[in-house]
Amino acid sequence: MSSADAFELISVDAGPVGGDPILRSIDLVVPANGVTVLAGPSGAGKSTLLRLLNRLDDPVAGEIRWRGRALTEWAPTELRRQVAMVFQRPPLFAGTVLDNLRVALADVDAERAAHVLEHVGLDSELLDHEADSLSGGEAQRMCVARALLTDPAVLLADEPTAALDRAARATVEDLGRMLADSGVAVIWVSHDTDQLRRLADHVIVLADGAVRAVGHLAELDASDDPLVRQSVGAP
């Protein structure tokens, strides 16, 4: 099941420096093919774990490996180009949509910019619109387009639809699905069990800073653990 792009967490503790760890002694392989959803109750450590994968935060103990190397052996800038991220609140930079795309790739030409926008379902006419004039769903899709300019192998998505209305949520979910099908592995944090059921190829359930379950949705539906069944919205 695990692909070459899987993340290996070995005895990882993570959390605020000097405080109690949110994640405790995690041993886990995070699959990086298709869509992997990180699920579990609020405060379980889902976002904490996600942020370790592109080194926005470092574990306080343990090691994380990707593509045969410890994350600490990667240049952080290079790692983050290959392991991209979109956030719950899309960070919009000053200027137009094109200006935003240029932050990811300084010399992106108009043709490539138009192409990547269309790839995420946005009209290329938006290129010279001010980024802050976009709707929530458009802004999030723009952020995905921007992230794609670095040619990532993996896209980390930290509750990317939590702040969106239903229609916008659907378009972003479809985009996630499309990316995963086209070869960009998606690791998606969600507290929405319906969303999980729509999207997930693999599921990791976290609770109280520990891994409760890992596997395909069908396996977890049949889990003996009621928390796991609840976290995946088992029928």
Binding site: P16, V17, G18, G19, N54, R55, L56, D57, D58, T72, P76, T77, E78, R80, R81, A84, M85, F87, R89, P90, P91, L92, F93, A94, V103, A104, C143, R146, A147, T150
Partner: protein, 264 residues
């Protein structure tokens, strides 16, 4: 009759100036501002501090005093400015160390130009006041830039991490905020340089004219002082902001959380 001879108004003159403090106190009482105590205390403190400083400077700026006394005085000024900055921008990581570095660097650059190019003769009488201008006029801007950087790192965390997540380095990710903070700190100084002479006659010139110097000569000194203040504010804020920017990020290009910032 109170006369001004070579800049000396005498004790009588000083006491008479106190009438103006009384004016301020009267206004405070009249409009019930409750500031009488602050006004009197501030005036008294200023008097005592300046009398003390004046007394000490006798031993520093006289041509017969060794230059080392002036240098020690400057070291004391730099230290006090750094201490004041660290109190006013207390949340800034390593603020004391960075302030010392910034004020020292600025003093070396500016005084190096002023004395290296022979603009002023190197003696206590010139070294101490000019160093005081460099340091004193940089204080507000340095505190401001420090606070602005910290605000940016806290309030703009989402945008900064958005840039980091795209593979930008910490320097690149923080650049727009660094630029904005420096602009915010420098613009007031630029504005007051523009307005000088039109809106107000600045202190150096006033002092020189009162002491009997020809206004045409006083003006040249004032212009050189305005330039040195611009140069010193730019240098101090640049050094300070670069130092702070580095402290805000880890070597792994991560934006530190407030609890992760190391202090002096």
């Amino acid at each position: 009759m109170i006369g001004v001879e070579q800049g000396d108004i005498g004790i009588a003159g000083l006491a008479a100036s106190g009438i103006l403090v009384a004016v301020a106190v009267a206004i405070s009482l009249w409009r019930q501002l409750g500031l009488e105590r602050s006004l009197l205390w501030a005036s008294l403190r200023a008097l005592v501090q300046l009398l003390l400083v004046g007394w000490v400077l006798q031993f520093v700026v006289d041509p017969d005093d060794p230059l080392i006394f002036s240098v020690l005085w400057i070291v004391a000024m730099v230290s006090f400015a750094a201490y004041t900055t660290s109190r006013r921008a207390a949340d800034v990581p390593k603020v004391l160390r960075l302030s010392l570095l910034a004020y020292t660097a600025s003093a070396i650059v500016v005084l190096g130009v002023l004395f290296g190019f022979g603009i002023y003769d190197l003696e206590g009488r010139t070294l101490v006041p000019l160093a005081g201008m460099v340091i004193g006029n940089s204080l507000a801007a340095t505190v401001l830039v420090s606070r602005q950087l910290l605000i940016a790192a806290t309030e703009q965390r989402g945008v900064i991490e958005g840039r980091l997540a795209l593979g930008l380095s910490a320097t690149e990710a923080f650049q727009p905020h660094l630029r904005q903070a420096l602009r915010t700190a420098l613009v007031p100084q630029i504005e007051s340089t523009k307005a000088v002479g039109i809106v107000f006659l600045p202190g150096a010139m006033v002092g020189l004219i009162l002491a009997g110097v020809d206004p045409a000569d006083a003006v040249k000194v004032q212009v050189s002082v305005m330039y040195l203040v611009l140069g010193s504010v730019a240098t101090t804020t640049a050094v300070m902001s670069l130092g702070i920017s580095r402290e805000l990020f880890t070597p792994a290009q991560q934006l530190r959380r407030p609890t992760q910032r190391t202090d002096d």
